[in-house]
Amino acid sequence: MLTPQIAIFLILAAVAVAGAVSLILQRHPIHSALSLIVVMVALAGLYLLQGAEFIAAVQIIVYAGAIMVLFVFVIMLLNAGEEERTNLSRMARFVGVPLSVVFLAEVAFSIGRATSRLSAAAVTTVSTRELSSLLFRDYVFPFELTSFLILIALLGALVLARREGTD
């Protein structure tokens, strides 16, 4: 029973997982960053599939369009080269693979147990209007508090980045 929705979901999910795997496997930081962008755009597609248009657009604008641009910018600015293999990263291959398999199994098990008790949720499109009235009316205090936190982090970064002696 392959409806278009399921087909699109499978394609996007495959792209997201492939991007995530490629992110780990790529040796060059720029290629890793590009893989991460692929993951984010695929996630935006998944949000869209769930009817969350606004979140999908914001996902691309903020994560893919702003944050990852800064990542790429810094990598370009520092001209970071390919990562080198050290003794520690060889060890990671022997310990990391079994650990990640265990972790994946754990996640799959708990998701499987949780979803067996859930019924399929109806996909409803959440309009931007509803979302914004939730954010700016019902949850305005936590929302503003979060932005305040981000502002503090920003100021902290500014203070740390400023050189000693300059005003």
């Binding site: 720029i30 691309i60 369009g65 641009v69 370009m76 600015l77």
Partner: protein, 408 residues
């Protein structure tokens, strides 16, 4: 056929629309280069392209052929994957963004399926547009980095910093318009500007109550020129300092792809400025009996242009021009007759005014390029962060206040 259309609307209705729009857009891109060269030439008291075809009209074709047949050089030290990806990314993103633009109010009916004039009518059209443009920076950044060469890297760094900085002002400058219309849907943004003050002045967002968005328009256009890396903000490719900036190492059709991406974003920005501030496809004249004659403006404009072209063409320098220009003129007259037909006349109103407004913006783009000197980099950053951004925030605050006061 109707049944097929009902079963597969995507295949029968959307696909032809996409193909037609792509064809029109690519032709428009080609002739936009001709238009720019002509206008800049006349600003500088030159003739511009004149030799290839009458008035250089076949110049874009010659350029295209040249791009295709040039040797495609890849630098030996380039990062091959990113080097190939960058122009592809730049062009495909620039072209994709045109898909959400509505070109007119009329619904087309193809094989019993009604469909909007434009490819997609989305609830969050404006946001999707910004999402796509915000990804456009990767084309430039990757091109600069992957060439593995000094000047491209500097150009790429410059323009990614520039595009990230000006994107803020660009997004903030349209918030005023969105607040007044209360929607992100581009079609609804246009219809919200329908109506007239005192029965004569159009209610476009530029001059609409409660808060005319003149400041918004200026901020939007300046930020958009910077966002599309055009003069006077073309520091990414400042030829006096950086050879050609981020695309120095690109040749042949890969270079052409960057070129086309730049012109395509110009068209998108002009469309957006028209939709947001100038009432999109809405006619500047009220639809009353007194102004009934304005329905014939498209037909009259095409007829006048066609007749002028015929009159000019028969006296042209070359024999080739004496054939081609009158034929073009007669074709325009034919279009004029078609636009005067009942049924067609209502349909062409929207697209006609929309295209006219877009062309005004494209002219301003070229005009600015032909007259203003390039910014220095520190001036650019100061201007973006210390002038554009504060003013765009001011615009948001003032508009919100005006709306709240008007509701009381």
């Amino acid at each position: 056929m109707n049944e097929l259309a009902a079963q597969h609307p995507l295949l029968v209705v959307s696909l032809p629309k996409i193909v037609i729009l792509l064809f029109v857009l690519l032709t428009a891109l080609a002739y936009l280069t001709w238009f720019e060269r002509k206008v800049v030439a006349h600003i500088q008291s030159r003739w511009g392209p004149y030799r290839v075809g009458p008035h250089g009209l076949l110049q874009p074709l010659a350029d295209g052929v040249k791009f295709l047949f040039k040797e495609d050089v890849t630098p030996a030290a380039a990062d091959k994957f990113a080097y190939f990806l960058a122009p592809f990314l730049a062009l495909s993103l620039a072209i994709t963004s045109i898909a959400v633009i509505p070109f007119g109010p009329k619904q087309l009916t193809i094989f019993g399926q009604t469909t909007p004039l434009g490819i997609a009518n989305l609830n969050i059209g404006l946001l999707i547009l910004f999402a796509i443009t915000s990804l456009g920076v990767y084309g430039v950044a990757l091109a600069g980095w992957s060439s593995n060469s000094k000047y491209p890297l500097l150009g790429g760094l410059r323009s990614s910093a520039q595009m990230v900085s000006y994107e803020l002002a660009l997004t903030m400058s349209v918030v005023g318009v969105v607040l007044m219309a209360g929607t992100f849907n581009l079609s609804e943004l246009v219809t919200s500007q329908d109506g007239f003050y005192w029965g004569i002045v159009p209610r476009w967002n530029l001059i609409a109550t409660p808060m005319p968005q003149i400041l918004g328009l200026i901020l939007f256009f300046v930020a958009a020129v910077a966002e599309t890396n055009r003069a006077p903000f073309d520091l990414a490719e400042a030829e006096s300092e950086l050879v050609a900036g981020f695309h120095t190492e690109y040749s042949s059709f890969k270079f052409a792809m960057f070129f086309m991406a730049e012109y395509s974003s110009m068209i998108t920005v002009s469309c957006l400025a028209t939709i947001l501030f100038f009432g999109g496809w809405l006619s500047p004249f009220p639809q009353t009996r007194l102004f009934g004659w304005t329905h014939f403006i498209p037909a009259a404009a095409f007829a006048a242009a066609g007749l002028a072209l015929v009159a000019h063409g028969v006296r042209y320098l070359t024999l080739f021009g004496r054939v081609v220009l009158p034929v073009l003129g007669i074709a325009l007259c034919g279009l004029a007759i078609l636009c005067g037909q009942p049924g067609v006349i209502d349909f062409v109103q929207g697209p006609f005014w929309f295209l006219l407004k877009i062309m005004v913006f494209l002219f301003i783009y070229v005009w600015v390029r032909g007259t203003l000197p390039r910014f220095r980099y520190d001036q650019l950053m100061n201007f973006g962060w210390k002038v554009l951004l504060p003013f765009s925030i001011l615009n948001v605050v003032a508009t919100s206040l005006a709306i709240v006061l008007a509701q009381k």
